[in-house]
Symmetry: none
Subunit: 149 residues, 2 copies
DNA sequence: ATACCAAGTGGGAAAAAGTGGGAAATAATA
DNA sequence: TATTATTTCCCACTTTTTCCCACTTGGTAT
């Protein structure tokens, strides 16, 4: 499972190290897409197949208008990139994806179960702060699930 | 059962000894997450499987389409860490987890039946004091709602 | 009282992960 | 085709993490 937070440098050649702990699970080839929220999504090729099938399925249960769905799919598919992890564990993030989330210098790389998210470090800090305000409420859910040991 | 209170040192390398009495029950690999209140939760991997399944909406492959669900998953998974207990019984607590509860120097490690909590020593002292003050009152309430208090 | 054992703590050395940059290969342009 | 720009590959450096050994402390048994 992909979990945890890592702060890595994005260098002048647009390279970022994939956290060592993510490499095995991600495999050699990954898909990077614009994310929802101020971030990028990284999927394994396998996960991407699932996700893209669902997204493009006209019969899915998403309450999208057809036109909305087309727009959304253009956004996701049109800017998705297949990227290889190099021999020492780095990936190259296309500039057109960096621009959208103002990625530079430091990136926060976050494991969120089945996907990885890439954030501008500062934006990630703000996101955490935002959610921290409702954290107690969220944590209540966690606390209640742990009762069934 | 995980019970008792231990005060252990957290050293410059972010290491803490797991109380000897907890080691067998916890196993080799554990999951640490932000907890409820000013503390961290430690789960066995088995318990975490259960908890994480409940946290993410397992029936919805596209849970990332909903903003609330996204924030929630980021909070839970992004701030969780899988950690190994080393050959002499210590764990490494990631700095991003320490920050949230201001962990340094001394940690209070508390067994709470089927999970372990990690507190800043001082915060734990205050927590105990707070609860002690209202303990009689609590006991009174509990006693009046249940015959087996 | 003293010696012994077990749990916890501290620190140095080795290994691993992350970063930066140069050279070779490829592509782009004139 | 020559020249320049861009990308890829590889090597080397730095920092962090891990592993291992030894010390300390406190409890226990003789």
């Amino acid at each position: 499972m992909l979990i945890g937070e890592y702060i890595h440098t994005i260098d002048e050649k647009n390279r970022v190290s994939v956290p060592f702990k993510f490499r095995k699970e991600l495999g050699k080839k990954i898909i990077i897409t614009p994310g929802l929220g101020q971030c990028l999504f990284i999927f394994t090729t396998k996960e991407w197949e699932k996700v893209s099938k669902k997204l493009s399925d006209a019969d899915n249960d998403l309450s999208f208008l057809k036109a909305d769905q087309r727009d959304f799919n253009r956004y996701m598919f049109g800017r998705a990139a297949e990227v290889e992890i190099d021999s020492i564990g780095r990936i190259l993030i296309p500039e057109f994806l960096q621009e959208g989330i103002k990625l530079r210098d430091k990136a926060a790389i976050i494991g969120v179960k089945d996907r990885v998210e890439v954030w501008n470090e500062k934006a990630w800090g703000e996101q955490k702060e935002k959610v921290a305000r409702s954290a107690e409420e969220l944590a209540e859910k966690l606390g209640s699930t742990s009762k069934h040991a």
